[in-house]
Symmetry: C2
Subunit: 331 residues, 2 copies
């Protein structure tokens, strides 16, 4: 009986799971960044082979029935042949296919073929899933054009609020000193060319970052929720995420809502966003249950590898995959 290999390639970690055709998970591996855009092609391929070797218990194993990758942007332009060749070079063989990371995240939370997913980390995106396929996606259009309510979106709002505060264009906010401190700057006093000196230093420090790196400031808003500006940023982020989810809701499609990403977790934990606002209380196509939090797409990648091979995944099989992956992950 041939095994399957499921690989969840994320922005910071890559996870691989080896399972048999009944969903018994037999091996697990974890390595570094697996996103070809942020890690580079060679970096991503190295992460894939490292995690795959760990999960396989070494190379030169019997060919897999299928090797399923869960990746953002459907592989971000990385040809499947490159992935196959790099795995084959360490003795790992089998037909490679790529699934959406968002779909894998959904499938990490439920065996249901239908439902909804909402994620907010550095970026943000919502999706309706029907028959284990993405049926409708909203937002996820990146830092420049969308990703409303994401870590970048919150970080940029924080940066603009601090700049506006120092510039006299916006209200005073506790975020200003927090942001200056985060960047190793302080209130220098004094003015140059008609501006406060600390504003000039702040602008220089912020433009030295790549835009998406502004997401690292998102925790500052959670750390100063008593501040009116910080509170309104978080309130707006919550409203944007709820709107993205509303846009994919459809009366006829019921099923659970799975949620993922550090920013979405923090919004829920701090009460800036509540489950009712996500329609998980039964409104608009929800199934009346609470949102299901998932930490990554490892379980979902296994589920998709089985489902795509025609193996039905019922609640029993699903629960066992979850338990297996949990056990294999334990240190």
């Amino acid at each position: 009986m041939q095994h399957i290999l499921a690989i969840d390639a994320g922005g910071t970690h890559t996870r691989a799971v080896r399972a048999d055709a009944a969903g018994h998970c037999l091996g697990y591996g974890v390595s570094g960044p697996g996103n070809p855009i942020s890690a580079g092609t060679e970096g991503a391929l190295a992460s894939f082979t490292e995690a795959a070797l760990q999960a396989s218990g070494g190379g030169n194993v019997p060919p897999f029935a299928r090797i399923v990758f869960a990746m953002a942007g459907h592989g971000a332009g990385l040809p499947l042949e490159r992935i196959s060749a790099s795995l084959a070079a360490v003795g790992i063989h089998g037909p490679v296919s790529v699934e959406s990371d968002l779909l894998a995240m959904f499938c990490s939370g439920t065996p249901s073929p239908d439902g909804y997913a909402l994620a907010a980390g550095t970026g943000s995106v919502a999706a309706r899933i029907v028959g284990h396929r993405l049926d409708r996606v909203a937002d996820g259009t990146g830092w420049l054009l969308g990703d409303a309510g994401s870590g970048f979106w919150i970080g940029r709002r924080i940066a603009r609020a601090a700049v506006a505060d120092l510039d006299g264009l916006g209200p005073a906010t506790a975020l200003t000193d927090l942001l200056l401190a985060e960047l190793g700057l302080g209130r220098t006093g004094g003015r140059a060319t008609g501006r406060p000196r600390e504003l000039l230093q702040l602008i220089e420090a912020l433009y030295a970052l790549r835009p998406v790196q502004l997401s690292r400031f998102a925790p500052l808003a959670f750390a100063s929720r008593a501040d009116a500006v910080a509170a309104s940023i978080l309130r707006d982020a919550a409203a944007e995420l709820a709107a993205s989810l509303r846009a994919v809701r459809e009366e006829g499609v019921t099923g659970p809502l799975t949620i993922g990403g550090s920013v979405l977790s923090a919004l829920l934990d701090t009460g800036a966003l509540n489950a009712e606002a996500l329609g998980a209380g039964g409104a608009g196509g929800g199934d009346g249950g609470s949102p299901i939090r998932v930490r990554d797409g490892a379980v979902g990648a296994v589920v998709l590898a089985l489902v795509r091979g025609g193996v039905p995944v019922d609640q029993g099989v699903f629960d066992r995959i979850v338990a297996d992956v949990e056990r294999l992950r334990a240190p």
Copy 2:
């Protein structure tokens, strides 16, 4: 009697004027981009020497009493010694100093030492001027952090509105088809991975641009003012620019308001912004006059070169400089 050389180094053109100590303008030159950031150091230096040679009537001229450059970002890190050396190499000598391009723009509109300036092109900025110096600047903090109401700001709003329209997250708008057409795209129909195909194509085309290049879409909003989304973008841009100007207004500082930049002109010409909203009608430190439109900082660079040398510039001298530059520019 030594002459002065005034050079207005802009993003698309560099203008040079040679004048005597009484402000009689005797030579004029124009060349390409003079911004070291966008044109590169060598490109900017080449533009400087080309315009300077034209204005001087050739090289190997008697040393100038002063050579004043009007530049964004106070020269954007280009050392004065580099500028001096490159002019000296073609026989043009004299002490070089750099002034703010915004200050030169103000001085192109009035001989008054005090007043206000508002500019909106690709970026946007407001300033209070006292004694021919920048006393207080608001915004001008760049595309990522501010520049509210600028060409980039409007272009990004247009891009986000079109993406939200196709994504089902925002209202339908005429801007969508205009933007698709501007990028050589159309309504393809069909969906892929849960999204309309034209949305995927639009996102790819927009991320292929450098962010500031989104400013090229600003004219689309002016072209579709009957559209509710376009109208609200222009209304918001006008409000942001008025707010930046309000932030620099001070009761005790009176003087004219000079305005510059293609976006600000278009907002005024289309009625999206009216002079009263800029406080030019007498409120908040205005002098009660209409805003003075200027096309660049060439006249202002001459004014600053004279003023910095201790030559007073009254209305008569100013009017003659304006007339001289106008005449020298005529083809």
